[in-house]
Symmetry: C2
Subunit: 460 residues, 2 copies
Amino acid sequence: MKYAAVSLILALAASPASAGEPALSAGEAAAIDKLIDRALADDRAYEILESLTTEIGPRLGGSEAEARAREWGAAKMKAMGLKNVRIETFDMPAWSRISESAAILAPFPQPLAVTALGNSVSTPEGGVTAEVVRFETLTELKNAPLTGIEGKIVFVDEKMTRTQDGSGYGVAVAKRSEATYEAAKRGAAAAVIRSVGTDSHRNPHTGMMRIRDNEKMAPAAALSNPDADQLARALLLSRGPVVMKLDLKTATTPAAPGGNVIGEIPGRTDELIVIGGHLDSWDLGTGAIDDASGIAITLAAAKLVDEMKGKPGRTIRVVMWGAEEVGLFGASAYAEAHKGELARHALAAESDFGAGRIWSMRTKFGEASAPKAKLFAEALRRLGVGPGDNDASGGADVSPLKAAGVPVIDLNQDGTDYFDLHHTPDDTLDKVDRQALKQNVAAWAAMLYVAAETPGGFRD
Amino acid sequence: MKYAAVSLILALAASPASAGEPALSAGEAAAIDKLIDRALADDRAYEILESLTTEIGPRLGGSEAEARAREWGAAKMKAMGLKNVRIETFDMPAWSRISESAAILAPFPQPLAVTALGNSVSTPEGGVTAEVVRFETLTELKNAPLTGIEGKIVFVDEKMTRTQDGSGYGVAVAKRSEATYEAAKRGAAAAVIRSVGTDSHRNPHTGMMRIRDNEKMAPAAALSNPDADQLARALLLSRGPVVMKLDLKTATTPAAPGGNVIGEIPGRTDELIVIGGHLDSWDLGTGAIDDASGIAITLAAAKLVDEMKGKPGRTIRVVMWGAEEVGLFGASAYAEAHKGELARHALAAESDFGAGRIWSMRTKFGEASAPKAKLFAEALRRLGVGPGDNDASGGADVSPLKAAGVPVIDLNQDGTDYFDLHHTPDDTLDKVDRQALKQNVAAWAAMLYVAAETPGGFRD
């Protein structure tokens, strides 16, 4: 399905399955097969992943560590032979964690494992010591009267459901975004939530709250799931009030340096396929699954396409987005910096859901182009990837592009265990399954081939 | 097999399987069956476990929290109707953790998850900053020259093998005990070890080193397994030295209050069966598997025997040993305080290997009594417990009794996952399988019945 040589009409005519539907030619199918073979035998994604997580480690958006990660990324792209490698910088507000601790003081004194939520303000000097008031869910808190819990510590104990597609997150994450505001509205001294996570380890899950507004926020933190269990039990077993101390110190720099790292595999036309992952991670772990894996998968897949005979039909642009976790600053900066060339963006996709095997795909193409999803499904079938609807989300860093009309594709990873690790100290290299990582690279390489070579694009 | 009514000779004569070997009578087997039925339907062990881990939480030997645990234990025993409930106090040296941190400073700056090992001295004010020298195993360190690593940080990277019977621990724990001395001998500034544990979480495993001797020790700490991986990779990937900072603050009080909590189910004779677990835990977690489970299992099992018709043949003494983790202070104090009555101790056993299902048993009886192990095996068969040899260890707190000639029995728990949690923050209530806990209680209750009723004891 080379861009210039084979037209869609030829491909349609050649379809053996059902006339009138797009299909890969035998030559194209063979090329993809070979590409997948090479990907499944290639360990470069793991090498990239190991290098980023070891040589940089944690890399919070806007930090000095993220700046080192950008240098690492540009050097890695150059070493791998990508062209037009550059760092596109921007300024951003940078939140950071200084210290955090929590304890039950009465009636059962003991420490609790806690972590400040991103954008949290500090507690007053010496911390907050107050009675705990538990809410089973965020909804219960929202429905609570506006008086009666002044000066207390709100505890939102809502649990998260384990799902393969990550849909449990969308439900559970609301408490992380909003508990701070609901607590402050009621004059509470602080908010603690049960971690947005599915594990049972003493590793609390951090994550961003809604836009910072100091006037309307209570200091907010997450307890690990076992600690949330413990606090809930203490409330149940105590005959009197449970008093907790929470001590958070955080800081914000209004304008810290941020940046996206960009490199390209030049194609035969100036149309662009934009792929990538985000370079930043939370500060607690080394961001192996979130999102060094996405960086590694997309870069390795692009390189495999680069090593095919001839240039790809469209240019493949690999982006390492900066500062995703802390507010999509890299995504916004990219969309702004490249708004003049968005019409040339034929397709965009992000890998940002760990390194579990890809099990399904979705597209968001124009109506007339929607049937071309079949070409991708055909290319990915051997890898156990099932077809999906034309309702792809595109990934967080791709959302501004999608909003501007750029077609997107999702290669959906198995996220059953993703929220055991997400945003915790436990997001480290040992959690990545090396074989599943290769399957990801193979799927991205096959997707890239179809994306680069399919005539006519995906907008119409 | 009631003590007074049925003699061993009768039991032997009644054996349907093989004449000359001990066997349970039909009545005894029926009584044990009923006891097991009741145990499998009883949730009191879980209630005890929940109460201790929630209402006390971490309870390091010699701490104020352990003192609260003793009050909790005595109150619990009284509430459950045990007799002669008392706390036998003693003095002990108490080590404690004040603060701990570690980081790679160069060439890949990032924090490391670390915990001080029990008995570690503090690092000098401001911590130790030095190059890391890695040793694959403790043996490699022991074989290393006595010069050449002065002022450096020794890193013993030895891995632990996962086993069902815990035998991997005996091999791996040597580095925890000895690395500090081997490092100090060579003038090293500090020692860090890969955690003695089989998990892959950012929770380092603490644990005791050999007797404290400040003059001959280097400050010593354990890295979590992912952090040990990371340090090993940094050493591999770096072209120059890897520089690490280790900052430990610890303290020791020469004479802190300690104690054992003791209660009894009085029997028809003054012979004693001593069972129990240890009341103290490490400070990092709430000691659910180590060893609130042992406390809960043995107390619940004794209570189930207490609820049978009539008194048991022998008195069942339940001991909550103090300060096991930090040097077996409770075990020594018990043996010393009770040395005048050790001849009356017919059998001793400790539950201290978590809450996994019991899968085998072992005895250490006198030669002539060894065949009586068959009675226990017969009683436990229904629970899936296999028979074993006459080479039981008896458990750490029972070791002084065993050394003094008291027969012991081991009910061996499945420890396949035990060292994922052992001595870490992750040793919390949620890790206990409620059904496996009941199986433990049933096995201990059945064992107690046979132990209390078998005539002639187990010494000969």
